[in-house]
C-alpha cells in the first residue's frame, strides 16, 4: 500500500492559465503541483528543423475537428512557448459583446477598465514592450505601407519579445532558441519553481473525482516522451483545489470525461467554443509593383522576398476596431507569418481553378513562397463550437506520434460569422490588391474546416448559469474548488490576439483561488510581486476590492 500523493493545488497545464496561478500560489505559500501533458523543453532543445520529431512537432498539437481545427501548445509553458507573442489588449467594445445570447456575454464586473490593472500586471511580468518602426519586419513594413497607400492606419503591435536578442529567424512556433520570446519559461515558471512549485511533464490528466474530505483526486496517464500515442503508466494525486488550464481545446474534454464521477457539468462546459473568428489570407506579392507604387526596397537587393524573415506578426491594422460599428462587422487585419507544412497546404491560388489548394497552379505559387504575405483576420464569431463525446484519452485520437490528432469539436459557422469573414476578406483584398501590389486569396475551410491558433470560450465565465460554465471568479458552477483559468474561460472572440487577455484574466483569478484555499485551511497569502520582483503592478491591484463575485 503506497501513500497517496497529496498536494494543496493541482494545476492541469502550464501555459498562461497554469503558470500564472502556479507562481502566485507557490509564492503565497501553497504546495503547488503542475501536471503538463507535454515535454519539458528549454531553449537548447528548440531547433530550426521541420523534421517530424524535432521541437517543431514536440511542442505543439494540431487537432482536426469537424468544421474546426485547433492549434495549441503541448509542452511545459504551453501556448506561450509556441505563440507569436503579439500582446494587444482587447478593445473596449469587446466586453459589451452580446454574441448569440442576446445579452452581455462578459460578467458585469468585467470591462476594459476593470481588467486594465491586471493587464498592467502582465505587462510588467512578461514584460510586454511597445515596438517602433525599426522593430518591424519586412512583411510588417510591407503591410503597413499597403495600408497607408489605401488611406488606412497601421500599428506596430505590442509584443512579448526582447527585440535586442531576437534574430528574426521566424522559427518561434517551434519555441525560441534564443529566449528572446517571453514565454512562461522565462518568467512565471522559473519564479514558481524558485518558490517550490513542482512541474511534472508528460503527465496527461484524464479525469477528476471527489475525495471523501471534499477535495479532488486527479487521474493522469504517463506519456512516452517521443511517441505521444504510447502511454507508459497511470497515477493519481489528491488536492484541495484543482485548477484546469489545459487550453480551450482540452479543458472541457477533461471535465466532460469527469462527469461520470463528479456529476453533471454546467451547460457551458464544452459549448460556446470560439475560434476567435480567425481566418488567414495569403497574398502573392508583385515586387515590381511594390517598388513602383510603395517605393519599398531592401538595401541587400530584392524589394521584398522576405516571407521567411521576421518574428511572426509585427504590424496590425485596427481601423475596424470601432465600437460604433455593429457587432460582427469589427475585426483586425494583422500581418502574420506561418511556417511551411501547415502554413501552405490550406493557402489557395488567387483567381485559380477549383480546387485551388493543390495541383499545378498551387505549385506555381509555392515556388513564389518568399513573396508570400500572410494576413491574419480576427473577427467576431458566434461561439458555435460544441465538443462531442470525449476520446478515450487526452483531447484527441492521436494520428501521428506527435502533433496531428482528430478531436471531437464540431463547428458550423453561422451567417454572422460567415459575413464577418467575408467583410474582412474583402477589406484585406481591397488593401493588398490596390494598384496591383499583390493577388490574394483566403485559406480554404474545406480541408480541415475553419482553423484557429486562438481557441477560446469552451468553458467560459459569465453571470448567467445557462450560458456560462464558470462563475465570474473562474470557479466551476456547482463544483466548488475547481477553477478554470485558461483561454477556455474567455467569453468570446476578442478581435485581437488573445494571449494578453488570457494572462490578465489568469492574474485576476488568483485572489479568489487564494481565498478558496484559505477556506480549506491552507496557509497561503496573496501579494507576490511580478516574477522578477517588480512591484508597480502589485501596488495598483492592492487598491482593488479583490473579493471577486461568486
Amino acid at each position: 500500500m503506497t501513500a497517496i500523493d497529496k498536494t494543496d493545488v493541482v494545476i492541469v497545464g502550464s501555459g498562461f492559465g497554469g503558470s500564472i496561478p502556479a507562481y502566485h500560489l507557490a509564492a503565497g505559500g501553497a504546495k503547488v503541483t503542475v501536471l503538463e501533458r507535454g515535454p519539458w523543453l528549454a531553449a537548447n532543445d528548440f531547433e530550426h528543423d521541420y523534421l517530424l520529431g524535432s521541437s517543431y512537432t514536440r511542442a505543439f498539437d494540431f487537432v482536426v475537428g469537424d468544421g474546426m481545427s485547433v492549434l495549441g501548445g503541448n509542452c511545459v509553458g504551453g501556448g506561450s512557448v509556441v505563440y507569436f507573442a503579439a500582446m494587444p489588449r482587447a478593445p473596449r467594445f469587446v466586453f459589451d459583446r452580446q454574441g448569440s445570447i442576446g445579452r452581455r456575454m462578459w460578467p458585469s464586473v468585467l470591462s476594459r477598465d476593470t481588467l486594465e490593472p491586471w493587464y498592467d500586471r502582465v505587462d510588467e511580468s512578461l514584460p510586454v514592450s511597445k515596438q517602433d518602426w525599426t522593430d518591424v519586419s519586412y512583411a510588417g513594413g510591407l503591410w503597413a505601407a499597403a495600408c497607408n497607400h489605401s488611406g488606412r492606419t497601421a500599428n506596430p503591435a505590442p509584443v512579448a519579445v526582447d527585440n535586442g536578442t531576437c534574430v528574426n529567424c521566424n522559427f518561434m512556433m517551434a519555441g525560441c532558441r534564443f529566449d528572446a520570446k517571453r514565454s512562461m519559461l522565462t518568467n512565471y515558471l522559473p519564479a514558481a519553481l524558485a518558490h517550490g512549485a513542482e512541474i511534472r511533464p508528460l503527465h496527461e490528466v484524464q479525469r477528476l473525482e471527489r475525495t471523501e474530505d471534499g477535495g479532488y483526486r486527479v487521474h493522469f496517464d504517463l506519456i512516452d516522451e517521443e511517441d505521444y500515442r504510447i502511454h507508459t503508466g497511470t497515477g493519481v494525486i489528491e488536492a484541495k483545489v484543482v485548477i484546469i488550464a489545459a487550453g480551450a481545446g482540452a479543458t472541457p474534454v477533461i471535465l466532460q470525461r469527469s462527469e461520470a464521477t463528479l456529476g453533471t457539468m454546467p451547460h457551458g462546459v464544452g459549448r460556446y467554443f470560439s475560434g476567435n473568428g480567425e481566418r488567414l489570407n495569403t497574398a502573392i506579392v508583385d515586387e515590381d509593383r511594390v517598388r513602383e507604387v510603395l517605393g519599398l526596397s531592401r538595401e541587400d537587393g530584392p524589394v521584398y522576398s522576405a516571407n521567411h524573415i521576421g518574428k511572426g506578426p509585427t504590424v496590425a491594422n485596427w481601423d475596424k476596431l470601432d465600437g460604433s460599428l455593429p457587432e460582427y462587422e469589427r475585426y483586425s487585419l494583422e500581418q502574420l507569418y506561418f511556417p511551411p507544412g501547415l502554413g501552405t497546404i490550406l493557402a489557395q491560388v488567387p483567381g485559380g481553378e477549383e480546387p485551388r489548394w493543390y495541383g499545378a497552379q498551387k505549385k506555381e505559387i509555392l515556388n513564389q513562397w518568399a513573396n508570400w504575405l500572410t494576413i491574419f483576420l480576427m473577427t467576431e464569431d458566434d461561439n458555435e463550437g460544441v465538443f462531442g463525446t470525449p476520446p478515450p484519452t487526452g483531447n484527441a485520437y492521436r494520428i501521428s506520434q506527435q502533433m496531428l490528432g482528430r478531436g471531437s469539436l464540431r463547428y458550423d459557422p453561422t451567417e454572422n460569422t460567415r459575413r464577418g469573414w467575408a467583410l474582412a476578406d474583402a477589406d484585406c483584398k481591397a488593401i493588398i490588391e490596390k494598384d496591383g501590389l499583390a493577388k490574394v486569396a483566403p485559406w480554404t475551410n474545406d480541408v480541415v474546416g475553419a482553423y484557429t491558433v486562438h481557441p477560446l470560450a469552451s468553458c467560459r465565465i459569465g453571470d448567467d448559469a445557462a450560458t456560462s460554465a464558470l462563475h465570474p471568479n473562474h470557479e466551476l458552477r456547482n463544483h466548488p474548488g475547481i477553477f478554470v483559468t485558461d483561454s477556455a474561460s474567455v467569453p468570446g472572440a476578442l478581435t485581437v490576439n488573445p494571449a494578453m487577455t488570457v494572462a490578465a484574466l489568469a492574474e485576476r483569478s488568483v485572489p479568489g483561488i487564494v481565498r478558496a484555499l484559505q477556506a480549506r485551511d491552507v496557509d497561503v497569502k496573496y501579494g507576490a510581486p511580478a516574477p522578477d520582483g517588480s512591484i508597480t503592478g502589485r501596488r495598483a491591484v492592492s487598491k482593488l476590492d479583490l473579493v471577486a463575485g461568486t
Binding site: H48, D49, Y50, L51, L52, G53, V64, P88, R89, P91, D123, K130, Q131, D135, S137, Y138, G141, L142, A145, C147, N148, R152, T153, A154, N155, A157, P158, V167, N168, C169, N170, F171, R177, D227, R229, L296, D300, H308, T314, W318, P339, G341, T344, P355, Y358, G359, A360, K363, E364, L366, N367, W369, A370, R398, I399, S400, Q402, D446, V447, G449
Partner: protein
C-alpha cells in the same frame, strides 16, 4: 527507392506516387514514367521524397498505406465507370487516370461530407509536406543535398551552427500613421 519486393508493393508505391503527384505535380523522371503525370515543370512531391515521408512511421499513416492505395484504385475504377473512361490495365487504375481526372477524383475524396475525407486529407497533408518542408529530413541537411521543394520555396542554408539569423530584417522606417486612438501601452482603445 529500393526495388520493390513484390508486385503488390509495386502497385502500392505507384499508386501513392500518383496521389502525391496530384497534390504537388512534377515532371516525369524518365520518358515512360506512368506514376508521375508530367503536369508541371520541375520536380514535384515524388521527387521531393513523398514515399520516404509516408513510410516514416512518425506520420501515423504508414500502416494504412496498403489500404489507402487499394481504396484509391477502387475509387478510380468506379470513377472511370462514371465518366466513361477506358483505363489501361498495365498500371493501377488511379495511375491510369489522366491528370485532370486524378485531380477531380482527389477533389471528390477530400470534399466536406465524404466519409473517408480525413484519410485522404492526411495523405495530402504529408504529400505537401514532403515538398514544402521535407518533414522526413533534417532541414539543413535537406537544403545542403539540394532538396527540390525547399530550394523552390527559396530556402537558403542556415548559419554554420545550423540556425537561421537575419540581421537585416526590416525597412527600418515609419510606413504608416498609427491609429489615432492607440493607448499609451500600444494597444487599441
Amino acid at each position: 527507392m529500393q526495388p520493390e519486393a513484390t508486385e503488390e508493393e509495386r502497385v502500392k508505391n505507384m499508386t501513392l506516387e500518383a496521389y502525391a503527384d496530384t497534390i504537388v505535380p512534377g515532371e516525369k523522371r524518365f520518358p515512360e514514367d506512368r506514376a508521375i503525370a508530367g503536369a508541371a515543370p520541375g520536380p514535384g512531391s515524388v521527387a521531393a521524397g513523398a514515399l520516404e515521408l509516408l513510410n516514416f512511421d512518425a506520420t501515423g499513416v504508414t500502416a494504412g498505406l496498403p489500404y489507402l492505395a487499394q481504396s484509391l484504385n477502387d475509387h478510380a475504377k468506379i470513377y472511370a465507370g462514371e465518366v466513361a473512361l477506358e483505363l489501361d490495365h498495365d498500371v493501377p487504375p488511379f495511375v491510369a487516370l489522366p491528370y485532370e481526372h486524378r485531380r477531380e477524383l482527389v477533389r471528390r475524396l477530400t470534399t466536406p461530407g465524404h466519409p473517408e475525407k480525413d484519410g485522404w486529407v492526411s495523405l495530402a497533408l504529408f504529400c505537401n509536406m514532403a515538398y514544402d518542408s521535407a518533414a522526413h529530413r533534417h532541414t539543413a541537411e535537406a537544403i545542403r543535398d539540394g532538396h527540390p521543394g525547399l530550394l523552390a520555396l527559396g530556402y537558403q542554408a542556415p548559419d554554420a551552427d545550423g540556425f537561421w539569423r537575419f540581421p537585416k530584417y526590416g525597412y527600418g522606417r515609419k510606413l504608416a500613421e498609427l491609429h489615432p486612438d492607440t493607448t499609451p501601452s500600444g494597444s487599441p482603445a
